[in-house]
Each structure stands twice: as C-alpha cells, then as structure tokens.
C-alpha cells in the first residue's frame, strides 16, 4: 500500500507532436434518447378507467384478504395473480406524510411547500400516495381523516392525478395503533393455497 492513498495509479500519457500544447478535450456530449410505447397491464388499466369515473379500484389478495391500491395484478402477500377487484370509497386517513420543499419534475403548478402523504382508504390495507391540502402544512398529522377532492369532470383522464388533493373531513382523527406498522394487516401471509 503506497503511503499516499491518493497517489495516481495511471501512468502519464505521451502525446504525439501534433497534440502537444493543444487544448485537450476533457468531456464529450453523447445525447441519449430512448422511446417506449408502454402498456399498462390489465389491472392498472381497470384502475385508471375507474379513475376517469371518479371511482377507486383496489385488488384483494387471494390468500390474506388484504386490499392493495393501485392494483398491480399480483399481491406480494400471496405471490399469486389477483382474481378480485374491489371498489373503495374516496375517504380514508393519513398514515404518514411529508412536508416537501423540493419541486416535482413536471409539476411546476405545485406551490412549495406541499404535503405529500400516504392515505389509507377505508377498506384498503395499504397507503395510497397523494397530496394533502385545505389545511396548513404544520397542522397535518398522522390519523387525519381526509376525503378526495377530484378535478372538474371535464379534466378527468385515465390517471390517478384526477384526485387533485385530499382535504380534511373534520371527523375525529383515527388513533394510530402503532407508529411502526403501516396499513391494516389481513390474515397472516404464511397460510396460502397453491393454485390448482
């Protein structure tokens, strides 16, 4: 081990006469562009179409009964394909949140700071990300009951951004049973049926 930890390891380069004393290129611009024509998958398509009707769809885990939103077609608690979609209300509680002062690329309409939050919908087992507004940022708290504020009907598209933000309902806060655990556990994941 040489004693100088930062001693250079690459030997110096010898240049031909025509390059000596010439200002050397140090970096090169290599523009990169790849286009993808992505497909959403079956379950996400159903979720996005429902969103256009101001409806929120989750999927039920075939072994634990947990409800996941948005649906991705396979639940991690079973490792199996989802067979049942579930309609969820647009009400729930704030499970965790973050007052953010960093802009989101492509969302310069958002005034800083904004509150991004994981909202557990009534009947769902996991949080669903969205913005909380209609309440001062420093009053947002774990357990806050909220309801979706949808964009005007003419602006609705196949996107979860149809929910403009979640606003407090004024109902009593949900008591957070444990600060460590998130969502609502269903049946224990270990018990599973192998698909016939």
């Amino acid at each position: 081990m040489t004693d100088d930890p930062l001693a250079p390891v690459a030997p110096p380069v010898q240049l031909p006469p025509r390059l000596q004393g010439v200002e050397a290129v140090q970096s090169v611009r290599t523009p990169f562009r790849l286009e993808y024509h992505a497909s959403s998958g079956q379950h996400m398509a159903a979720f996005l179409r429902a969103m256009k009707q101001k409806q929120i769809l989750g999927e039920r885990c075939p072994t634990t009964g947990q409800v996941f939103v948005p649906p991705r077609g396979v639940t991690p608690t079973s490792g199996l394909e989802t067979t049942e979609l579930v309609e969820l209300p647009d009400t729930g509680y704030v499970e965790s949140f973050c007052i953010t002062r960093v802009p989101i690329p492509g969302r310069d309409d958002l005034e800083l700071p904004y509150v991004s939050a994981w909202v557990v919908l009534d009947g769902a087992s996991v949080g669903f990300i969205g913005l909380v507004a209609g309440i001062p940022a420093d009053e947002v708290r774990l357990g806050l009951r909220v309801k979706a504020v949808w964009r005007p009907d003419e602006e609705l598209r196949e996107t979860a951004d149809n929910i403009h933000h979640w606003a407090p309902t004024g109902e009593a806060d949900v008591r957070i049973a444990s600060y460590e655990l998130i969502g609502a556990p269903g049946r224990p994941p270990a018990e599973r049926q192998v698909r016939a």
Binding site: Q66, T75, F97, I99, T100, R101, S116, A160, G183
Partner: protein, 385 residues
C-alpha cells in the same frame, strides 16, 4: 464439503467527488481496482473472477456496462458477474463474490462497486418519468421522511438528533482522504439552520451525489496466507428482501432488517452485539437512519437508539464508533456505497483505516440497504482467523 474460509486481503477506493472529470468510467473503476491489487500485492492475472455491482444503468446511460468494463479490469478469459440489488448492491456484490471463494470454486476474486453519477444526475436517473404512475413522486427523501417522522413520534427523540449524526459524520470524513465532503469549517449550527427539504429532513441531513468506485480482493485461506498486509476474515454474511408496501409492514424496523441481522449474528456466533462488535460501517443516507438502524441491529433497545448518538457513543473514540469513514452522508456513489461500508469494516479489523482507525478494533459490521428499506446485505469481519 465444508465451506472454505474467505478473507479480504486488499481494499481500493477512489477519491469520491460530485464529478470526477479527470477520468473515463474505465479509469474510475481501474483506480479502485489497482489500489486493491496493490494492497494485496497482486497483478490482474492473479484474479480468477470478477463481480461488479452498480445500481441503475441509467446513471451512465450504458446498458450493462460490465460488458465494456470487463476487459478494463483484466476480465478477459475469466468469469464476470454483474449484480444489481438497488442501494444494497455494493454489499450484495461483496457477498456474491465471497460465495465464489467459500464454495471452493475460486481462490482470488475481485469485487467492485461503482457509480459515475455526474454522467447524468441522480434526480433524473432515480425518478424517470413512468407511464401510468401518479406524478406525485416523493423521491427518496419524500419516501423516507414519513418513516423518520414515525420513528421520531415513537421514540420521542430530541429534534436535533439527526443533526448530531450529520455533524458527526462530516467531522469523521475529515479523517478520510477519500471522502467526498471535506468541510473543516462546518459548525453544528450551520447543520441545524440548513434548509428543510422533506420535513423533517434538512439538506444537511441528506447524502451527496458522488462519482466513485470501491474494490475488495477476496481470497481463500491458502491465498490469504501469502497476503502481504493484515487480512479481514469474513465470519458471516446475510441478505434479505421484502416487499415495500403491504398491510402490517413494520416501516421503522423492517422485518427484512431484523431477520437479516438475526441470521448474521447466528452464523457469526454473536449474542451481545454491543459488546462483541467494535465498530460499525452502517448505510445511513439520511441522518435519522443511524439511531433507527442502531435499534434494528440490536445495539439499543426499541426507541432508545438516539441516546447512543446524543451521548457520543457512536463518535470516533466512543464505545461503539459508527461510520468513522464519514459514511454515506459524506460520500454516496450509490452503486459503490454498500461496498464502501463492507470495505471500511474490513479496513478497521486489518488496522489499516489510517486517521479514522478505531484502536484495537477486531470485529466489525458492514451493512447496506436499498429500495424502500426492503433490501439488506450485511457482513461481519474479524481480525482472528
């Protein structure tokens, strides 16, 4: 057949910087590899196999760069593997390399983690526009801030514990010539007054974006016997993965972390980590994760980890020094950071950590995590065979 013993006989690192404008990508990885080979007094041809670890290839815009880099690391005619397990990749790369020695297949393996983030930028590469996803993209800070908020509520920890960790690691970094952030004039107040980015995470409590590479040479018992410098024996390794979003998930102390460390300690025969482990190189990209991981790794009771930060236990010179290298908070080339933790742990028990050496350290823990705190890779190294 019983597992072969495996030791770290060489460590090499590059100077971590926001932009290493003086080297090509091959130059960056060769800098770390050549230093590791020099430490082990070996040449390229003495290496039997290479395992390269790096996080998303979008950082450099080169698909599977190991195809181009294999030859730059003396890989022609040899096995070359490329591991990618998100943030924990540096750790899992070292573990995969150790299995190649422990299984008796190879005698000397070069494991290297790298990232050259300045070729693009971390924000772009980590939050690529995705079809069908909501545009509310919390990014890493936005993802971990709510978890940190839950730990603060659960532990009732004093509000400035995160700043204490950030200040400690930046001071440690001054004793590490490779560290990216060298801020000799930084004051604690400056850390506290730093702007809040994702409440409760301040700018000063987040890690930088760095270019960098880190390499280790792993060797069998026979090869380690002829190594010129002290070696670090790998007592145990462990990896676990879990989903990042399901009902009942413990977000503050993920089951993948607690199960991984339980497996690790069982294999290493560790029952009292606080007493049996001398120094920890822990993956802390956001400062509050130090107290949280201290609890998950069994060094403190639930809700009590912050006390070890507050009372100076985790400082160089404390009873359980953490990240004396400056840690991820001082240098973060994502693909290398896990490997840097594993390598710095090895340097400690080899007595080769220089200015940030913990005197008399004989057993160290290297720890890495990735994804939504869902991928974990850890190893225990010790001075004794």
């Amino acid at each position: 057949m019983a597992k072969e013993r495996c030791a770290v006989i060489g460590v090499g690192q590059t100077k971590y910087q926001s932009t290493r404008g003086d080297v090509s990508i091959a130059g960056l990885v060769r800098e770390a590899a050549l230093r590791a080979l020099a430490d082990a007094a070996l040449e390229w041809d003495d290496i039997d196999a290479i395992v390269i670890g790096k996080a998303p290839d979008f950082f450099e815009g080169v698909m599977m760069p190991e195809i181009v880099l294999g030859e730059a690391l003396g890989g022609v005619g040899k096995p070359v593997l490329r591991v990618h397990t998100a943030g924990s990749v540096g750790g899992s790369t070292a573990i995969v390399a150790s299995t190649l020695v422990e299984s008796g297949i190879h005698a000397r393996v070069l494991a290297l983690g790298f990232e050259k983030q300045s070729e693009s930028n971390a924000m772009w590469a980590l939050s690529l526009p995705q079809a069908f996803q909501t545009s509310i993209n919390a990014g890493a800070g936005g993802y971990f801030a709510p978890i940190i908020r839950r730990y603060m509520a659960m532990s009732a920890a004093p509000e400035l514990v995160g700043c204490l960790v950030a200040f400690k690691d930046r001071q440690h970094a001054l004793a590490n010539p490779y560290a990216h952030l060298h801020q000799p004039d930084l004051t604690f107040d400056q850390v506290v007054e730093s702007p809040m980015l994702w409440d409760p995470i301040r700018y000063s409590e987040t890690c930088p974006s760095s270019d960098g590479a880190c390499a280790v040479v792993l060797a069998s018992e026979a090869a380690a016997a002829v190594a010129p410098n002290p070696v670090a024996w790998i007592d145990a390794t462990a990896m676990r993965s879990e989903a990042n979003n399901f009902g009942g998930r413990n977000m503050v102390n993920p089951a993948a972390s607690s199960m991984c460390v339980a497996d690790l300690y069982a294999k290493a025969g560790i029952t009292e980590p606080r007493r049996e482990i001398d120094v920890v190189e822990m993956y802390v990209p956001f400062s509050w994760y130090e107290p949280m991981w201290l609890e998950s790794l069994g060094f403190a009771e639930k809700g009590e980890g912050w006390r070890l930060v507050e009372d100076g236990t985790t400082r160089l010179g404390g009873a359980l020094p953490v990240n004396t290298s400056g840690g991820v908070l001082s240098s973060n080339p994502i693909g290398a950071s896990g490997m840097v933790r594993f390598a710095e742990a090895a340097l400690q028990v080899r007595g080769m950590a220089g200015e940030h050496q913990v005197d008399g350290a004989t057993r160290a823990l290297g720890h890495a995590y990735g994804g939504g705190a869902q991928y974990f890779a850890m190893w225990i190294v010790s001075a004794a065979a």
